[in-house]
């Protein structure tokens, strides 16, 4: 009996050690498991924020126009893009692709960059109303050629802000989880 017990204990410790190693190895390359800081996927149309926002100075809310009244910050409808691109740079192959989709009533499948788990309820409008700048969470989007995730969007990172007394932000669990 003694032997079996010892063997069991050894295997347990061994598997835990292996697990720790694997996790450790991972964390070397990533800030933490499950978070996606610096995630920068390719998009179907290489929309350039540094050009539109940085160079031409278009305001965020021009395209993400529902951010002040919705929990979601919307990806603009194609009709928003076409406001300008009916006139501007109509010969570009990417714009052509978009125009064709628009005329057919189809859409573009953008790859989601910022994603919170399903059990997190985040509300953009509440933050924007309070005067939190877009850059605080999304980083210097005006310099990004391709958008990437600037912060790790972890719970600790959220709480860090909510805990600052000057922010007067709620700290209840149901603020985000319900």
């Amino acid at each position: 009996m003694q032997k079996v017990a010892t063997f069991g204990r050894i295997t347990t410790w061994l598997s835990l050690a292996i697990l720790a190693l694997v996790l450790g190895a991972c964390s070397k390359f990533r800030p933490a498991i499950g978070y996606n800081k610096n995630y920068q996927p390719d998009q179907p149309i290489p929309y350039d924020h540094s050009l539109h926002v940085g160079q031409y100075g278009i305001k965020c809310q021009y395209c993400h126009n529902q951010v002040e009244r919705s929990k979601h910050s919307n990806i603009p409808a194609l009709s928003t893009c076409m406001n300008c691109h009916l006139q501007v740079k109509t010969d570009s192959p990417h714009i052509t692709k978009m125009r064709e989709a628009y005329e057919k009533g189809e859409s573009i499948e953008w790859v989601r960059v910022h994603m919170l788990p399903d059990h997190v309820q985040f509300n953009h409008s509440a933050h924007v109303q309070k005067g939190v700048s877009c850059n605080t969470c999304h980083g210097p989007v005006d310099t990004m050629k391709t958008v990437y995730q600037f912060e790790d969007l972890s719970m600790g990172w959220c709480i860090n802000c909510h805990r600052q007394p000057e922010n007067k932000a709620p700290l209840n669990c149901t603020t985000c989880h319900h």
Binding site: L19, P76, S79, Y102, S107, W110, V111, N123, L171, N172
Partner: protein, 1048 residues
Amino acid sequence: MSDMNHHDHSPEIEAMKKAMRPQVETDDRYWRSLEQWGKDPEFQKMAEQEFLSSPLREEDREDGWARREFLKLMGASLALGSAGCLRRPVQKIVPYAKQPEEVTLGQALHYSSTWFDGSETFGLLVKTKEGRPIKLEGNPTHPLSAGALSARGQAMLLSCYDPDRLQGPKHNLQRQGDEKTKEGARSNAETISITWSDLDDKVKAAVSIGNTWILTGHVASPTLRQMIKDFQGSTKAQHVAWEPTSPDALAKGQEASYGTGLVPSYRFDRARVIVSVDADFLGTWLTPMAFNKQFADGRRDVVGMSELVSFDTNYSLTGANADKRFKIKPSQQLTVVMGLLHEIVVKGDMSSGLSMNPALKQTLAAYANASELLGLKDPQAISKVAQSLMKAKGESLVVAGGTAAQTEDAVLLQIAVNALNSALGNDGFTVVYGQAQVALNGSTEELMGLMAAMNEGKVNTLIIHGVNPVYFLGDAFKKALEKVETVVYTGSHMDETAIRADFVAVDHHNVEGWGDSEAVAGVYSIQQPTIRPMYDTRSVLLGFAKWSGSSSSLAKVETDFEAVRMVWKEKIINSGEKGFEDLWYDVLQKGTVGALRSQRDAVRTAKVDALVGIKPEAKSGFELVLYPTVQLGQGELANIGWLQELPDVVTKIVWDNYASISLATAEKLKVSEGDKIELDVDGLKVKIPAHIQPGLHDDVVAVSIGYGRTRSGKVGTGIGVDAYPLVLMKNKAAVFSGRSVALKALGEKYQLANVQGHHTMEGRAIVIEATLKEYLENKSAGVHKHHIFTIWPHHRYDGHKWAMSLDLNTCTGCSACVVACQSENNVPIVGKKFVLQGREMHWIRIDRYYTGEPADAEAVFQPVMCQHCDNAPCETVCPVLATVHSDEGLNEMVYNRCVGTRYCVNNCPYKVRRFNWFNYRKEMRNPEHLAFNPEVGVRVRGVMEKCTFCVQRIKSTKDSLKQQGREMKDGDIKVACQQTCPTGAIVFGDVNDPQSQVHKKFKEEPRSYALIEEFNAAPAVRYQTKIRNNNERTINPRHEEAKKGEHA
């Protein structure tokens, strides 16, 4: 092993520990089941357990691994998952091509709409998200339903997402031989898809031959009525409206008494004394939600509350709410009313409202001793009821009806009731004939005419809409259908009638198409679509337009929208000076047109000739009572799991129907709960499990209709026993009740899943009642004030402090809140097997307590949900802080932290926590998930859940107020159960706001008490005592004693 148990368990220490526990008041006058009443040791054992079986023993579910196996697998998959360090699956965002003006992502849009359930019209507000209806709520502007929505109305949404729905028009190549085919599946040899144009051509050709009949349910829609009229004009078709529970006896009674055969509307709020003879107006009779509201309005002011006396054959919801309930059998219904007539017309000499026939007094003389004839304990019972009716002369109401009163004498009963109301001067005031329920014009007589014509081969084409005659009428209708050349059916499923139709012209769901409804004469509401039709379906309005070949402008409409608009422009909206367009948009926004009349109608004189010469009938032996249930009604919505798992309002049994018999009868037959018995009704034999129902007449056998569907879909097929074959068609009327029945015990066991017994509070004093007399002497009669001592500082709530108040005096137990909560909070259903193990998931339950002896038990209802205690016992035992207290007084449950120890549920004195034993969402079939509320997480296996006070509603209201820059005021937040409650029994709000209703209920209402207050859990839910307007007895003998020996 021994060192596992090294704690000292000496008896002295145990006794000392016990003595140190707080004293809990017990109250064994209230009981929930006969097992509890009889102090059955098995029951005591079960009551002590939260869940009835170990999770490790569950093998017959697909994901029922033993826990150890699960841990092994989990360890492996964790290692695998982290080795790759992969990004989670890529998600795509697909924006609109053209932004619809009104849509803001994540913001709900509410559309006004309406739904007619075959008897009652509801004004709806349909909550949609991104073009998908996710919740139905009552429209407060509707004059009748006034914001209430029944359990069935709430659940109706799910039928839109029912996977068993037909997805396009069908053509049945074979109309027979269905018994052999498997449920749902029809082979290509039997059924093929057809295009709408082909279908229209074929139906049009059939209609053009002539001899067309239309069979519909009640048609409340003015547009559809107009469309059918138009269709009849060009095709000479005959129209029959019929539903199995049509109140045609009521209409016939009105005709015999007053000359007009319309179903009147009633005003229970105006009545100070209400006598109901089997009319379950709070449960299923005519327009129960509107009646619930009216009834509560008449009782809200306790001092002037109305009195309800019920003569009940089955134990109905109305009987359960009655101040005095008398058990009778169907053959005694007429005796009750004639007895009352004798007291009032002969003894009280009140006959001014009657066109008096001198022979009537002689007839009534035979009923002088009605109490004795009825076998009532109190020989003065009937005369006492008559006394209170006469005291409330002109402001009382006597009603009878429903299937339980649908005996062979149903029309006579109505004539007698009319005579009573006229004699008492109620006619025109509480019986409003001037604003009749015009839609309820179904006629069994006409249906039998249709069936005769079918059998004679005189019907060439039959168009069936809104009713499922093969299920309701069985073989008789099947046989008659065989003689019909072409059958067109507009149902949504391949159901009992659909497989016997040539063409199934699939209709839109209520949330997909345009329509309207006329609740009572002059009160209209409009139905708007809130989702693009999910499948290739078409509104029935267009069907009639296309098939008629008429040249009218109505028949030329291209859409249902045009049809509705056209009829409203012509008939309903009186545009006057303002243009129609403006008014139309006002109407769409408000959803309703018209109001209830406030002035009284003139008193009519009732003819009584039909009553002359009837004699009291002394029938012996068992009598059958058939009744529809609150959850399933006639049975059309049997495929909705929410309704099947909604506990019956009185018996609290789910997923089954049964024959209710009294305890004495059960002892005589030697059957116990769930044993199968055989009912023999004139040679027709039905095997059905028995349920022992307290408070039932010993000669009554009550069975609910609406069960035993053979082709309702995957959920509803084969649930329960079909009781429709027991309905007798006689003298151009349907006889539901009063038929003689023989009973035989079969010796077979069957398990009925009864939720009452689960989550019990073990006889503690939780529901508090007082009589009106006691209340008038002491406004907090029955409420025991405890001296609570604590060394713990209270929580500080500087901002809001959410709280809820529940008035037991107005709560009728209608159960609409249960389904509303289920819909709002994505609460899963678990199925009968797991309900048997105590694993139902409802966040709000309605406890039904009986009190008194089983033979004459009275009932009390009490909704219980998470009490959001300030000193929550669950919070202190959670090892992972998954349940914590918020600074607004909410007891928060954090699903993603929960590891499923279930300590909290074991420590909860109110038993309101629910555990996800399985991934119930995996059992769902596409597209049922579309009904999910995206603002509420869907819980996975191993997670505890419970009522959150609809925290998502609190949050979204706060957010929208922030945007509007406005302070919150009382009533801004309505939680789901409160929103749908017809009686306003549930009040939610901020108790820190001195102007709020809930603050007043908490601080100023003397009837207010909290559950097990002596525990000092300090719940944020307070109840108000139930007051019975029955001064003949005392409810609180203990109260006086308790006062004397008040504990320190």
